[in-house]
């Protein structure tokens, strides 16, 4: 047996930039994503702490200012009862964002778990899970959720709605994660782990999952935008959040008749939905760019 002497390991030390730092750096350079992140955080905090900061409560009626267009006192104007539109919009946004976050977390958890199991174990497990996915894909989410949620009692059931939407909207994530797992399970490092007798659960969570994190984070982010759109649509149709609770969709539905006479009542809730979704989509896009090793943006 021969051993090598005098090998200088230091020679091989190439400066390796940590992967995560590269990702963060790439994300920070995505200007639109950064702006979106800032705007989103502003909206998020405003919607949560708005009632402590803003001088009007969403229930409060400023009877001296009925149906006022936007002004310094009421930047978003008031409705015919004198309610402050900014307070109302923030309150609606709070519900919509909360629901979207719960839906995203729930659907990502379910989707990742099922997708990982299907992609890792393949065979009949995969077949069963994928058939369930197909089944849920044959009926549009809005229809499915509508069938179930229309009978919820008004008020306090926003969490029921989030639960429902979360349980029904994991198919996309599951498919993505399954695809990643199918590809990753063939990689040498997984085979190596299996060869030295690492248990399946540990391989899934410690070896494969971290490598599939990029697409998962991206799809979780984008699912927030999808959830907001579905929830507001359901609420608009009267199948989601109901009064006295509030949602951006409900606000649009409540004030759509006033568009011609008091347009501000209609504009602001809608623009809030767009800004939130657009922001989430841009952040998702920034994350996708940051995670995608193939992408090195070069501008000529």
């Amino acid at each position: 047996m021969s051993t090598i002497v005098g090998s200088h390991d230091t020679e091989f030390a190439i400066e390796v930039r940590s992967q995560w730092r590269t990702i963060v750096r790439r994300f920070f350079r995505h200007r639109l994503a950064m702006v979106s992140l800032i705007v989103l955080s502003l909206i998020f905090f405003a919607s949560i702490f708005g009632k402590y900061i803003w001088r009007f409560d969403y229930m409060e009626r400023d009877t001296a200012n009925l149906s006022q267009p936007p002004s310094w006192t009421h930047p978003f104007g008031t409705d015919s009862l004198g309610k402050d539109m900014l307070a109302l919009t923030l309150r609606g946004a709070q519900r919509s964002i909360l629901i979207a976050l719960v839906v995203s977390i729930l659907s990502t958890t379910i989707g990742v778990t099922l997708g990982a199991i299907a992609g890792y174990f393949r065979g009949w497990t995969d077949a069963v899970i994928m058939r369930i996915t197909d089944l849920l894909l044959t009926i549009p989410l809005l229809i499915l959720a509508g069938c179930i949620s229309w009978q919820f009692d008004g008020g306090g059931s926003w969490w029921l709605l989030s639960l429902l939407l979360g349980v029904l909207s994991w198919q996309g994530t599951a498919r993505i994660v399954r695809g990643e797992f199918l590809a990753l399970r063939e990689k040498e490092f997984v085979e190596a782990a299996r060869a030295i007798g690492v248990r399946d659960r540990r391989i899934i969570f410690r070896h494969v999952l971290p490598n599939a994190l990029g697409p998962i984070i991206v799809s979780a982010t984008l699912s927030i935008a999808g959830a907001i759109l579905v929830e507001t649509a359901l609420s608009y149709l009267g199948l989601g959040v109901k009064a006295p609770d509030s949602s951006l969709g409900l606000l649009v539905s409540d004030y759509q008749a006033a568009f011609q006479t008091r347009p501000w009542l209609f504009w602001f809730p809608g623009i809030f939905i767009i800004v939130i979704c657009l922001g989430v989509n841009f952040v998702g896009d920034g994350l996708r760019d940051a995670f995608d090793p193939k992408q090195t943006r070069v501008r000529s």
Partner: protein, 392 residues
Amino acid sequence: MTAFIIRRLLIAVPVLFLASVFTFFLVINSGDPLENLRAKPGISPQVIKNEEVRLGLDKPFVERYTNWAGDFVRGDLGTDMKNRPVWPQLWSAIKYTLRLVLIAELIAISIGLMIGIVSGVRQYSGFDYSTTFVSFLFFSLPVFWFANLLKVFGAIKFNDWLENPGISLAFAVVITAFLGGSFYLIGRKRERLRLAKPGAGLKWGGVSLGVTALVMLSAFFYFKNREYGRFVKTLGSEPRDLSDSFASRLWSYVGHGVLPVIVLFTISYAGYSRYMRASMLEQLSADHVRTARAKGLSETRVIMRHAFRNALIPIATIATLSWGGLIAGAVITERVFAWNGMGDFFLDSLSNPTPDPNRLLAFVMITATFTILFNIVADIIYAVLDPRIRLG
């Protein structure tokens, strides 16, 4: 091919079966259809009992399901709460919705693919950035809000203008300057890229300035003292008066359909343009496209015959995914524009005033069937586009 279709249809049977059991379970548990009847004063228990028997409410779940499924297999969708057969109602709804959805989808595919190709070829150009932004905007657009917006600006205000048409001089000047300026810039850019002869910028800018000025000027005089009816309709799905001439009826159909089609277009356009762009980018960096360039083919041929042709393959699967979104979009759009399509049918069945089991079931089953059919069609298109896939 036939074998493939038959096999796919056979696979569809268990999926439809499961979907029906699932929906049946959902619908059965979505409230008491006789709630209102029971609440009415002076209704004898016998009447309620009769209704329960008619609707099968007195029977256990399995029996109710098998009764329903037996009828369904024989093509009988049953009767609704008011004892009217479901199928004729649903069929008339399907016609409206399919017309709406298919037209919107066709427009979305053609425009989406075109924009996708160009923004893929001109990655990171001004054109790419702006179309990307538009796509993201469409992705983020709440359908119900946008539909209402269109109703006011695309219909009411536009009709107001049509009733008293005319363009202001300032408007004409701004449009002329804008078009002339942008053509000048495009010409300059192509000049720099050596795609156009020197001086193209000034020439193109000047020509478009002249043409636009001419058009605007004639429009200015043409629209003076003219009057049109309120062309764009905000409510209803077809002309009320069927005695008119064919042309005017057709025109009326267009007036009714244009806004809903625009709304549905925004739903699926963004997906097509984004996926087409991504697919084009992938193909443009593929080895075989490099080979095509190395062969000395023209850039147009490289892009259309090699990159685009191959980029189309994955798009076939996207088409089926957008169906669910379109149906959901149609539900909302039809509500806003008061069309009597499937969306209306669905919302009606849900709460009129209590859920109507047979109508809901019929609706879900038809939607699921369409989804499955579209999936099969997509698979066939996929196989036609890609010689590596063999059906059978």
